[in-house]
Amino acid sequence: MTQAPILKARGLVKRYGRVTALDNADFDLYPGEILAVIGDNGAGKSSLIKAISGAVQVDDGKIELEGKPINFSSPLEARDAGIETVYQTLALSPALSITDNMFVGREIRKPGVLGSVFKMLDHKAMEKFARDRLSELGLMTIQSINQAVETLSGGQRQGVAVARAAAFGSKVIILDEPTAALGVKESRKVLELIQDVRSRGIPIVLISHNMPHVFEVADRIHVHRLGKRLCVIDPKENSMSDAVAYMTGAKTPPEAAVAA
């Protein structure tokens, strides 16, 4: 890779009391790529993602976005900087409608005095936008855009969260297990969406346990183990069983991969 990474992290350390979640972890994301992050449960994948997306603050280490050092103190700051994240927990408010959830924190106001003085929301515009995004994702089984999210199935909820990130992410989109709860058809749509987003030039970080999915869409695979980056491998030159062997410690990766 000759290009400079769009998102770069060096020596991230995060401890929760006596538990070390990140132990000098490094991370690189290059423009326009899909980077998969794999690792065992408890390897620190989620902590790594949360550190990048501003949800947790690291104890040590530095993160750079487009070469500029960043230090997010909240997810909102990361979002304003163009990093959109779909968390494993989805971060949806169950009693609010699909539309409300998609626009949380960036609501559209009515034009004119109604919007500027009375801060009135433009529900129509938001509903139209939300409906368009969801049908792009093929989430046709949603009956009403004003349904409360709690009335949706697990997969539909995940679809809403993914649609939200894809619609608003401008620099980096992070997806933590985006297909875990999805059906075959919906998973396919999400994978197509991921490739579609990449073709728009936006790089994606994909955390997944689903090896076929990872090997299908990823350009590079970041293997996380015991709180740090073990190696980065190329899915075209490595097999799934190699990846699993590195990730679980059954095999030691070649020197070249570690350096990358």
Binding site: P75, A95, L96, V104, M140, Q143, V184
Partner: protein, 360 residues
């Protein structure tokens, strides 16, 4: 291994028929079997329906029992007057409860600010409008103090406001010297304080400006909660604070604004209470905290946060007023009024639990 990594292919073998999948919007045959199911779903979609039905039913029943004395325009407007102060406090309480908190200090803030405004305007000779502005600022400050303890010190709202309830009450006794400010003195020095006690006579009904103020407070807060982004955030925080934070809401800042606003509404209630009571008594409304929670709960706002309309609290306050008035006119002892309100609370929360099962 190579079959899945082949770049020319799209997807896995088992997915080849996906292109032919059905693309129509899902339609279902009749979902809700029994009428009870349908009622449950209707209520889940529209939780304010319960208090409205109870209110209409209660007015009907007491109209039959107590007859014209209950149904007179005078009596109905009197109920509106009687609930106006607790109603405004319930509006403040609703704001806090929607964020999954609880505020035991609302009435204490109100009485403290009534005493502050009264002392300044009646004894210190401060112009009444300025005295009121000080009270509004003070009420907001009390609310923000609660909010800071909840968001920055991370105390549970129940403990925070249990503590500030005592603190505000003690301050109120200290400032007032446990003495009431007499009605005549207020009339002489600062009649503006009694503004909301002015009554409009319309065909036998006697509607005070304070009753109208209560309705106005509810409408303004309803608008803020339902038509603005801030309001959506308040609901989202009450629903799931962690999710709201991750979704990009500044939860602490929003919570602080909610507590500050609730304090301001309490100060507005303080002004209205001077008009309603006539004098300013430091011992008044000692049960106001719990009565406001009663109104909110009967109004169908969930104590677990994130659910229910603030208008429900208005109906909740009115239901309590209608029960008290109706039972009194029917010649029932006060103790049975209290008994009935107790059952209403339990019934309201039981219905809330039943409605919430829809989503489970």
């Amino acid at each position: 291994m190579s079959d899945t990594t082949d770049p020319g292919r799209k997807g896995q073998d088992y997915e080849q028929d996906l292109d032919k999948s059905d693309v129509s919007v899902a339609e279902f045959k009749y979902l809700h079997n029994s009428p009870l199911d349908r009622i449950q779903h209707a209520l889940h979609g529209n939780p304010t329906l319960v208090p409205v039905i109870v209110l209409v039913a209660a007015i009907g029943v007491f109209g039959l029992i107590a007859g014209d004395r209950f149904f007179s325009a005078f009596n109905l407007s009197l109920i509106l007057q009687q609930v106006s102060i607790i109603g405004i406090l319930a509006a403040a309480q609703s704001l806090i409860i929607i964020t999954a908190g609880i505020d035991l200090s609302v009435a204490a803030i109100m009485v403290l600010m009534a005493v502050v405004a009264g002392n300044l305007a009646v004894y210190a000779g401060v112009p009444a409008p300025i005295a009121l502005l000080v009270a509004f600022a003070g009420g907001t400050g009390c609310g923000i103090m609660n909010g800071l303890l909840v968001t920055k010190v991370k105390l549970p709202p129940f403990i925070t406001t249990l503590g500030t309830w005592s603190i505000f009450y003690a301050l109120n006794l200290w400032l007032s010297g446990a003495q009431s400010i007499r009605s005549q003195d207020i009339d002489a020095e600062a009649p503006l304080l009694k503004f909301w006690g002015i009554a409009l006579e319309v065909g036998g009904a006697r509607v005070t400006l304070g009753s109208l103020l209560m309705v106005a407070v509810f409408l303004v807060l309803w608008y803020m909660l339902n038509k603005t982004a801030w309001g959506r955030h308040v609901y989202a925080i009450g629903d799931d604070k962690e999710a709201a934070e991750l979704a990009g809401i500044r939860t602490d800042r929003t919570l602080l604004s909610v507590y500050g606003l609730a304090g301001l509404v309490c100060a507005v209630a303080a002004w209205a209470s001077i008009g309603r009571v006539g004098s300013i008594s430091p011992q008044a409304f000692y049960e106001g905290n719990l009565q406001s929670i009663t109104a909110v709960v009967i109004g169908g706002i969930s104590l677990f946060g994130g659910r229910g309309s603030i208008l429900g609290a208005l109906f909740g306050a009115l239901i309590v007023g209608v029960f008290q008035s109706g039972l009194r006119l029917a010649g029932v002892d006060v103790l049975w009024q209290v008994f009935a309100i107790g059952w209403l609370i339990i019934l309201a929360v039981a219905i809330d639990q039943w409605i919430r099962k829809v989503s489970a």
